[in-house]
Amino acid sequence: MTALTTTGWWRDESREPLRRNLGLIGVLVALFGIGAIIRPDLYGDPQWVVDNTLVILQQAAAIGVVTVGMTFVIIGGGIDLSVGALIALAGVWSTTVATQSFGAGGMIFTAIIVGVLAGLVNGVLIAYGRLVPFIATLAMLVAARGLAAQISGKQTQVSNDQFINGLASSKVLGIPSLVLVLLAVAGLGWVLLNRTTFGRRTVAIGGNQEAARLAGINVRRHTMLLYALSGLCCGIAAIMLTSLATSSQAAAAELYELDAIAAAIIGGTLLSGGRGTVTGSLIGVVVFATITNLFAIANLPTEVQNMVKGGIIVFAVLVQQLKFKSVKQLLTRT
């Protein structure tokens, strides 16, 4: 395989994220093509296509915000399994009768505070309590769902706030507000990761924790902050989800942790840390939302959809490994 030594942008290591994003966009185009073949009546209508695209983006909004936080945690060498539970907890807490009496501001404030504090608990347990992230956030998952059920009495809490309820259906310049929230969070996330010391520390700690420590970086404090950031994203997502469903409940945001991790991974975030992009994660989320949408349009059952999702994750990771090794090596490795 001497061809490996040839140069070109597709061989250039630093262009790897771009290459992967282009691959994912290719997947999106392919999905669109499949849709056009199945339902030419719908995909032939430009207005419908625009509407449907906005629907997909809106469905990607809440999970997208969570995935931005998750991307930071994974790049920093961790994992956060508690995100779905934190959304439920923040959502339920912000829609109690007492909280709702403070209006939309009070609800948003509560959701964000609950998310950040729960994230901080994760962070303290992991950074200072030396718990493995998997265990600490798994415990938080169970506990937060329990607390959410306790607070809500296992009932669906309807939001009566006009601002919150209207947020999801409102549009600014023709774009749904929640999509704008996602774009804002992703934009801030991109700047944070690529242009600030916070992002640089995240990459350093995830890439080589020992090197970061010996370079004088406060690894523990930063690790703690990463989980707080993830919690913050959960708080924002909780408000978005409450707005979409005009209610909250303890069972909400089921399995969001897996969706967020999967989206980050197919977006090119290395599960072992040190590498990943916000853009890739974002496109990953959109790919999954598009699949869900396409399956609804094609009237295929959910179980098939889950199988396809699983297949795509495996495929994406296989491609990730193929990057470094030739096909031949991969085949002869057994």
Binding site: S14, F198, R200, G207, N208, E210, A215, N218, G274
Partner: protein, 510 residues
């Protein structure tokens, strides 16, 4: 077996192994006969580990031939070498702690019937093998975790025998053993050789080589500097000079005749259990203090403790008169910097470009209001890259594409950028080729000209002697000698670090 010597089982001729930027083996010869203990001697970095890995099937030789039982071979993987009858016992024993002795011995080739493993038979076979090793008392069902180091070594050997090994390679087996356990190890080795099994024995301790070895092959800078010397009768002076004499002279920059600066680092009576004891040293601005010692002498642990990465049990560390309290962050703030021993695992972000590696300690300072300034980082990194003559001179390149020497320059450059007053260098030239070494020495000397103090550790004695102004010799966690570099010769230092060997051999001591 049609070769000239009927009992030669392994013959290596002109074996070459290249790693990016370094030629680890450069025409190595080795001949091992059945039933002998063949000792492999050489300094750190001479190529012993690479040679072992070639024999064990971990690496493939780039050139040369390996003849095993008269047939040229090239093992595709460790399993193939094992199957052919070559077993390797690494220093860090590759056993599964939470499995039993028998399970470890038969790991990967468990006695089976219809696809079911037969634990009873494995245990019986293990006992048989252990009896061959003279240790039938070890219970085959005990967890390996519960065994002392000597016991674990025994299990490794039993595993080798379970594969019908004809050659067992032992990498510094005595390093993890207590004195009386070594005697037992030698008894086992004699039993093995009596059964016709050959042993390649690697050790730093001359005394052991004298006692157990039959023939010695000496490696130096990836080449064989002597083959098949008689282990008992070759004079120590001869062995040492063959280990240290070199083809290419290191080019050390001249020591400037300047006054040394203010006292920077002062370490007093520093101790850590089982690592080092009662170490005191001083480093002034503008001087290089070198520590010579073998792996396991406690030198790396000492450096990490000074840098705050480990906590001292007793003693004190002061920097510019202020006490340091065991944390890396405070050490860095006080002006310390460290280039650790394991560059890749302890210092570099391999997926990141050079400039981000160089600014790992300084990006926060360069940043404004928390926003990083990549342009300024690149400019400053470029200036350092120029100063260090980094090749290629492209700071946006991924650091993983650089050679070992240039990677080391990146790590040193990191601390140059940080305005570090005292730089700790742990094995700065490991894995660095000869040409790049001279440059690194130049860089280090330049630093002192700027008033920086350097604390250097190297297992290569000439490096310490040639580069440092003052030298500390460490052995088994203690400083055994402290002197100006000019007052010591390489042989003096080797005598000190290998002390004990000279007493038994009755050779002259400096």
């Amino acid at each position: 077996m049609t070769t000239t010597e009927p009992d030669v089982i392994l013959r290596l001729s002109n074996v070459v192994k290249d790693f990016p930027g370094v030629r680890a083996l450069d025409g190595v010869e080795l001949e091992v006969r059945a039933g002998e203990v063949h000792c492999l001697l050489g300094q750190n970095g001479a190529g012993k580990s690479t040679l072992i890995k070639v024999l064990a099937g971990v690496h493939k030789a780039d050139a040369g031939t390996v003849e095993w039982l008269g047939e040229p071979v090239s093992f595709a993987n460790p399993q193939a070498a094992m199957k052919a009858g070559i077993a390797t016992i690494y220093q860090e024993l590759d056993l599964v702690d939470d499995m039993s002795v028998a399970e470890n011995v038969f790991l990967g080739h468990e006695p089976r019937k219809f696809g079911f493993v037969l634990p009873g038979q494995a245990a019986r076979n293990t006992t048989t093998i252990l009896r061959r090793l003279g240790h039938a008392e070890v219970p085959p069902r005990r967890l390996v975790r519960a065994l002392p180091n000597a016991g674990k070594q025994l299990v490794s050997m039993a595993r080798a025998l379970s594969h019908e090994a004809k050659l067992i390679i032992m990498d510094e087996p005595s390093a993890v053993l207590a004195h009386d356990e070594v005697a037992n190890l030698f008894r086992i080795i004699r039993d093995l050789t009596a059964q016709g099994i050959a042993v390649v024995y690697i050790s730093h301790r001359l005394e052991e080589i004298r006692e157990i070895g039959d023939r010695v092959t000496v490696l130096r800078d990836g080449q064989t500097s002597a083959v098949n010397l008689p282990a008992r009768t070759t004079p120590t002076r001869d062995l040492v000079s063959r280990m240290t004499g070199r083809n290419i002279e290191y080019v050390f920059p001249p020591r400037p005749e300047t006054e040394r600066g203010e006292l920077l680092l002062e370490v007093e009576n520093l101790s850590r259990d089982n690592e080092f004891h009662d170490v005191s040293l001083k480093v002034h601005g503008g001087e290089i203090v070198g520590i010579a010692g073998l792996v396991g002498s406690g030198r790396s642990e000492l450096l990490e403790t000074i840098f705050g990465a480990r906590r001292a049990d007793s003693g004190s560390i002061t920097m510019s008169g202020k006490p340091l309290r065991g944390s890396v962050a405070t050490a860095v703030r006080a002006g310390l910097g460290m280039a650790p021993e394991e560059r890749k695992s302890q210092a570099l972000l391999l997926g990141e470009p050079v400039y981000r590696n160089m600014t790992l300690t300084t990006f926060s300072r360069i940043a404004r209001f928390g926003f990083t300034d990549a342009d300024r980082e690149q400019r400053e990194s470029m200036a350092v890259a120029d100063q260090l003559e980094l090749r290629p001179r492209d700071v946006r390149r991924s650091v993983s594409t650089l050679s070992g020497g240039n990677q080391q320059k990146v790590v040193v450059g990191r601390w140059l950028l940080g305005g570090t007053k005292l730089l700790i260098l742990d094995e700065p030239t490991r894995g660095v080729d000869i040409g790049a070494r001279a440059e690194l020495y130049q860089v280090i000397r330049q630093l002192t000209a700027q008033g920086v103090g350097v604390l250097l550790v190297s297992s290569e004695v000439p490096e310490v002697l040639g580069l440092a102004d003052r030298v500390l010799v460490m052995r088994e966690g203690r400083v055994v000698r402290q002197a100006d570099a000019g007052q010591l010769t390489e042989d003096d230092v080797l005598d000190l670090v290998m002390a004990g060997s000279l007493d038994t051999s009755g050779e002259e001591a400096a």
